[in-house]
């Protein structure tokens, strides 16, 4: 029953669960991950069939799986249970620092943090918080250098359509890795597109969504579901909560369930419970990070203080009352998580602008200050034009992404001037800032966000905006800015590497990344998500909590990818399938040189403070 795996010190148990045919249909094999070594009790209850507890746990599991996953009975799924190659990242919550290596160990001393292309000259704009809970922290965990050609192993998920019974032998083969299968999984991608609230939660279509997200309260009350109405799912959510509390009763924490190519990931953030059900190739850790984003999205509307308060007063409070009208924010955030590399890279991208122009904009923003103003942010679409902050106050990229999402998913800021309380959870979960949000012109993409600590500051900030605009116009910068925004990105052909289709380059010290526009083969929504999925996959391999990699060359069916992490930057390249490894490696240098040459256009090198 119990399996030791020397690579995985945190993994206490991989337990096989088999439910009795009598009580359940179908037979559900699962792998449970437990965090704590104290989980001996947990192990016992799972490994001693016949106990009442076991049956109840299994029943709950089966319930979730049966309702969420398109399983069919009698498919002999049992064979897939034990699979060493399940990506075993356990979402290690221990501080990543202990895994860090001395930076001086970097084999490329010229590329250490702070000297890489795109590194800011002064202090960075963003917090490099690696708080205890911050799963997005890029711990520099390069422990081993490894080149993989082609990328193999670690594929445990198989598409739900693969249903033929397997023997143990076949399974072992599978462990060796079948990269082709990854593509298969992606092909049946279907985009959710829009809020399909009326969806029948018992329908096949509902089950086949790639990623479900559920938020519930500790009383098991539904708060949010990505697809389908919360009411229709209340019994499912009740079971999820039962499962969470059942494992907790054994002084343990349920983190995930892996079954049939699905991952069910649990994030417990009292007073909320978040559950993700995914059949993407994302690792458990990535999924947890996405759930964390959803959690912070909720906090940003309410503050943690208010959230706790509400549930202290009434444990079975229906939080949807307080969150009413914010569903589209969460929906949009989930879409962003699928297609915006900034969210998994923990970085922000900016509009390419001549540095002289950006400097004028920054200094105009800097001049339009007010006593309680903390951040002034100018966005063009989802890209940063510039950000000016109060001295010693840093914005966390996650908070900025939440602001992007707030502005980008709501048309209500298009007219007039918005004034809204917002909590920046990475700054402070206890209090509200007050944000003045307005577009510089109704038809323009330029959106100004001014963040103050005072809720009575609206007219002060409105005046700041007026002064900023006046200054821009006086220096005729406004026109120049508008013109520059006609081309908000650049084609990859500018780099001059014919086989290169797309890339993402992140400068670690500045927390900024740059990426060309999405090229033709990836322009459809599904293809773009597929490309981002590949990057995300590489990212999770490189930042694996226990087996991080530095360099990956990945041959997929329709493209070749290369990724490289140094202490200064992260680089993800996508080549045409005809490209070779040698060619890819030679392209790195050329690209880095190009980025260095263009860095003052692509990045914000000299961030301003008031």
């Amino acid at each position: 029953m119990q399996e030791e795996n020397e690579h995985e010190p945190q993994l206490v148990s991989v337990t096989r669960i088999k439910c009795s045919e009598k009580t359940l249909r179908p037979t559900i094999p699962c792998i449970l991950h437990f965090t704590e070594v104290t989980s001996v009790t947990g192990l016992e209850f799972l490994s001693q069939p016949g106990q009442e507890k076991t049956i109840r746990a299994c029943y709950s599991l089966a319930w979730i799986i049966e309702r969420c996953l398109p399983l069919k009975p009698d498919t002999g799924m049992e064979a897939d249970v034990h699979n060493n190659s399940v990506p075993l990242e356990n979402g290690n919550l221990a501080p990543v620092d202990r895994l860090r290596r001395d930076r001086s160990d970097s084999p490329t001393p010229g590329l250490v943090e702070g000297t890489e292309p795109g590194a800011g000259q002064d202090s960075a704009m963003f917090v490099h918080a690696q708080s205890f809970e911050d799963l997005t922290a890029d711990g520099e965990q390069e422990q081993e250098e490894e080149v993989q050609v082609p990328e193999g192993g670690d594929r445990s998920e198989r598409g739900p359509e693969v249903e033929k019974p397997r023997t143990e032998g076949e399974e072992n083969e599978k462990m060796q890795g079948q990269p082709g299968e990854e593509e298969q999984e992606q092909e049946e991608v279907q985009s959710g597109g829009g809020r399909a609230k009326e969806e029948d939660v018992n329908s096949e279509a509902w089950r086949r969504h790639r990623k479900h997200v559920f938020v519930l309260s500790e009383a098991g009350k539904p708060i949010y579901s990505r697809y389908g109405t919360e009411e229709a799912l209340s019994s499912t959510m009740g079971v999820m909560m039962a499962l969470v509390s059942f494992v907790e009763a054994g002084k343990n924490v349920i983190r995930s369930i892996h079954a049939e190519g699905y991952k069910v990931v649990f994030l417990r953030k009292s007073p909320l419970v978040l559950v993700g059900v995914s059949r993407t190739r994302q690792s458990e850790r990535e999924l947890t990070r996405e759930l964390l984003y959803i959690y912070y999205q909720i906090i940003s509307l309410l503050t943690l203080t208010q959230l706790n308060h509400v549930f202290q007063i009434k444990q079975n409070y229906d939080l949807r009352r307080l969150l009413a009208g914010s569903e589209h924010l969460t929906d949009n955030l989930l879409r962003l998580l699928d297609c915006d590399p900034g969210l998994f890279l923990s970085a922000v991208t900016c509009v390419p602008l001549p540095s002289s122009l950006r400097d004028v904009v920054s200094s105009s923003l800097q001049a339009a200050k007010a006593k309680n103003l903390v951040f002034s942010i100018l966005l063009a679409g989802s890209r940063l034009v510039t950000l000016v902050r109060k001295k010693d106050q840093y914005l966390h990229h996650m908070d900025l992404h939440l602001l992007y999402n707030l502005v980008g998913s709501s048309s209500s800021f298009r007219e007039g001037e918005g004034w809204t309380p917002i909590c920046l959870p990475k700054f402070n979960t206890a209090g509200f800032f007050h944000a003045h949000i307005s577009y510089l012109e109704p038809a323009s993409d330029l959106c100004l966000i001014l963040i103050s600590t005072d809720r009575e500051d609206f007219f002060t900030l409105s005046d700041c905006k007026r002064r900023f605009l006046e200054r821009l116009r006086r220096r005729s910068t406004y026109q120049a800015l508008q013109e520059a925004l006609l081309a908000p990105s650049y084609p990859v052909s500018q780099v001059g590497i014919p086989e290169l289709r797309h890339f993402v380059y992140k400068s670690k010290s500045s927390g900024l990344y740059t990426s060309p526009e999405i090229p033709i083969p990836y322009q459809s929504e599904e293809e773009q998500e597929r490309l981002m999925g590949l990057y995300q996959y590489l990212h999770s391999r490189m930042h694996h909590p226990t087996r991080p990699l530095r360099f990956i060359y990945h041959c997929a069916e329709r493209e070749n990818l290369l990724s490289w992490v140094t202490s200064g930057f992260e680089l993800y390249l996508c080549f045409s399938p005809l490209g070779t490894k040698a060619l890819a490696i030679s392209a790195i240098n050329k690209l880095l040189k190009w980025i260095r040459k263009e860095e003052d256009r692509l990045f914000i090198l000299s961030p301003q403070t008031y």
């Binding site: 509307l301 914010s326 209500s412 004034w419 809204t420 309380p421 809720r455």
Partner: protein, 201 residues
């Protein structure tokens, strides 16, 4: 030409069409797929009325419960409040009554109250009868109109009527020093009405 600044705020349940009313008034446009307002939105519009220029400073507030606590910030400084309900939703009319009570208790004493029954283009789905609403409005001496932001019915009218009821502020003096400047208008919401229990539950 004389310029009067008129501070108006819109209150009411979520989804009743506050923003749509404001958009219709300010931009003369209508978007059926408008997102819920987040926080509040500030807009201005200057219109000429007879030989005066009226500059409306409009606070369009969000109707969701989580923004409820912020409402005083907006109505405190307002000379008039338009409380909107949806004629196809009985609940939104109940919410309106709570807003009236709150304004009476915490709002500025002379605030002009207008009640707008929006979505009157959807009279097939009507849940609140015009007469009931009118009677209620009369009982609290509020302006009453049924509006449709979609079909631009009574939108400008409600703003004009408000501007007539708002007392002309005296130079240097606070807004609404006089009880009323038009002879025909009865005392407004500030005056306690007999039919409502004063304390809020």
């Amino acid at each position: 030409m004389a310029l009067r600044e008129l501070k108006v705020c819109l209150l009411g349940d979520t989804g009743v069409g506050k923003s749509s009313i404001v958009w219709r008034f300010v931009e003369d446009s209508f978007d059926p797929n408008i997102n819920p307002t987040i926080g509040a939105s500030f807009m201005t519009k200057t219109v000429q009325y007879q030989n005066e220029l009226h500059k409306f400073l409009i606070w369009d507030t969000a109707g969701q419960e989580r923004f409820r606590a912020l409402a005083p910030m907006y109505y405190r400084g307002s000379a008039a409040a338009i409380i909107v309900y949806d004629i196809t939703k009985e609940d939104s009319f109940q919410t309106l009554k709570n807003w009236v009570k709150e304004l009476r208790q915490h709002g500025p004493p002379n605030i002009v109250v207008a009640i707008a029954g929006n979505k009157c283009d959807l009279s097939d789905a009507r849940e609140v009868s015009e007469k009931d609403a009118k009677d209620y409005a009369d009982s609290i001496h509020a302006i009453f109109v049924e509006t449709s932001a979609k079909n631009a019915i009574n939108i400008n009218e409600v703003f004009i009527e408000i501007s007539q009821r708002i007392p002309v502020s005296e130079p240097g003096g606070g807004a609404g020093a006089r009880a009323s400047n038009s002879a025909d208008s009865p005392p407004r919401a500030a005056a306690p009405a007999a039919d409502d229990p004063p304390p809020k539950p």
